[in-house]
Amino acid sequence: MAYVAVKGGERAITNAHAWLGEMRRGDVAVPELSVAQIREQMGLAVDRVMAEGSCYDPDLAALAIKQARGDLPEAIFLLRAYRTTLPRFGASTPIETADMAVQRRVSAAFKDIPGGQVLGPTFDYTHRLLDFKLAADGGHEVPPAQVSEEVMPTQLATIAQVFAHEGLLEGDPVTDTSAQPYDLTREPMAFPADRDQRLQALARGDEGFLLSLAYSSQRGWGSTHPLCGEIRMGEVSVGFTPDELGFEIELADLPMTECIMLSGFAGSAEQAPQYTRGYGLTFGHNERKAMSMSIVDRALRGRELGEEGQAPCQDEEFVLYHSDVVEASGFVQHLKLPHYVDFQADLQFLRRLRREFFDAKAKALAEQAEHMKEAAE
């Protein structure tokens, strides 16, 4: 047993939390941040908290970031904890990302993708030089975004649709309309994991962990030689059928980022050579995560595609058991809770081992001395 009940810390805990509150507020001469300011001006932090917190609600995510003093894994934990207090009304109709109102869509693989390369609000091509204009107190005028005289097409063909007729890309057929997808919020992690379970775990997974895994794959530890088929970001309509209505209504247009990564496949006796695909999807604008997710998703399909891989990114138990930031953080950080009994038991054991070690050594020395004495005689 790892823990022991310890009493007597209440006053210290209360005082520690009061100090935490003061530290969170910082210098009172500096105006306090509002939740709305965080929501509007720390949008990508809010998006990450919603994606890994697995709950879309920008106000809640912004509040969690404020409460956590900007510690995003802590904010994700807060959001996950909050969601357990809410009932679930049901599940949405599966979304159609092909109908996304696109704000950004780029294909690194296919320059002439129909609908064109649309950059959207991106950090790409910025010089990564600190902009000291942003450090000026107030009055910083933001030049307005350009507004085209033309609008975007209402639907942009996906890379899969573009090449569908040639069979160059694997399809993603709907093979089972009856089964409910695996739900990690209701069922524990189990192996072997099907793709629906893996995708949910990756969608909730820690961005840093998935980024490193994707990077390791690219550098040769289980490489899938990915090409970025398409990244798209924009609003996707979420449809839901309430029981009491009996017909579907649209609940929201949620911003999402989707990535389709292409990867070669030599084919088999039954299957002609074609590109296979890795898939990434997240709430909000979260490109690094969506790209990493798509590379790891593809790497995890080794069993299905007959790839004998031993690299970490190809090992579904390794990936899925360690991708959740709340679980990982909890298990590492539980080590700071009292382990007094473990330590005491360890100490006793260690003292005995040392006593035995020194006893044995003394005995050996004595025997050696005896031996030498006998030899001398």
Binding site: G53, S54, C55, Y56, D57, D59, L86, P87, R88, F89, A91, S92, P94, I95, T97, A98, A101, V102, Q103, G116, Q117, L119, G120, P121, A145, Q146, V147, S148, E149, E150, V151, M152, G171, D172, V174, T175, P181, Y182, D183, T185, R195, L199, A203, V238, F240, P242, E244, L245, G246, F247, E248, I249, E250, L251, A252, L254, I260, R277, Y279, L281
Partner: protein, 174 residues
């Protein structure tokens, strides 16, 4: 104790009659009601409440008080394949009945209970020939127009960031 039992029975009866009434409405799919319910669900709460203040609403009875919960948003493998669970979103719902009998259901994105209540009352009023035009003109259409305008601006901003490739022709003789 007697009072408590009575009130529980009353509540139960209310829920019964409320659920009995909505067994199969699937024939209503594709109707204008779907449209206005979607508009009400997607609109920002602040905008809904601001417009609502300019309207006169009839008496209504709350069948189910506003309640916040979640809907699991499902994606599709590869973008178009089998569903998987992406993550949840917060949703608030409410049900009311007008004195004239129309029942209104509000399902809205987010956690604003006033928003869900207003959506439910507006839904009931939209079903009544007496109130329909007032709610359509004073609430649904302005919300839809604001939504369309926002979409339009986003679309034009995106269009302005589209890359226009051109190919450089190198003149070897020069």
């Amino acid at each position: 104790m007697q009072v408590l039992i009575q009130s529980i029975q009353k509540l139960f009866a209310m829920t019964q009659s409320y659920t009995d009434e909505f067994v199969d409405n699937s024939q209503l799919a594709g109707t204008p009601r779907q449209g206005w319910l979607s508009t009400l669900a997607k609109a920002p709460a602040s905008e809904v409440l601001r417009l609502w203040e300019g309207l006169v609403a009839p008496e209504s009875q709350v069948l189910r008080p506003a309640e916040t919960g979640m809907v699991m948003v499902r994606g599709r493998t590869g973008g178009a394949g089998n569903p998987f669970n992406l993550g949840e979103m917060t949703v608030t719902r409410c049900a009311i009945r007008l004195a004239t009998g129309e029942t209104g259901i509000g399902y809205v994105a987010g956690r604003d209970k006033a928003h869900a209540y207003v959506a439910a009352v507006a839904d009931a009023m939209m079903q009544s020939s007496v109130w329909h035009d007032q709610v359509r003109d004073g609430l649904i259409e302005p919300l839809q127009q604001a939504s369309d305008a926002r979409r339009d601006v986003l679309s034009r901003k995106a269009k302005a960031t589209q890359v226009e490739f051109f190919t450089m022709v190198r003149d070897r003789k020069a």
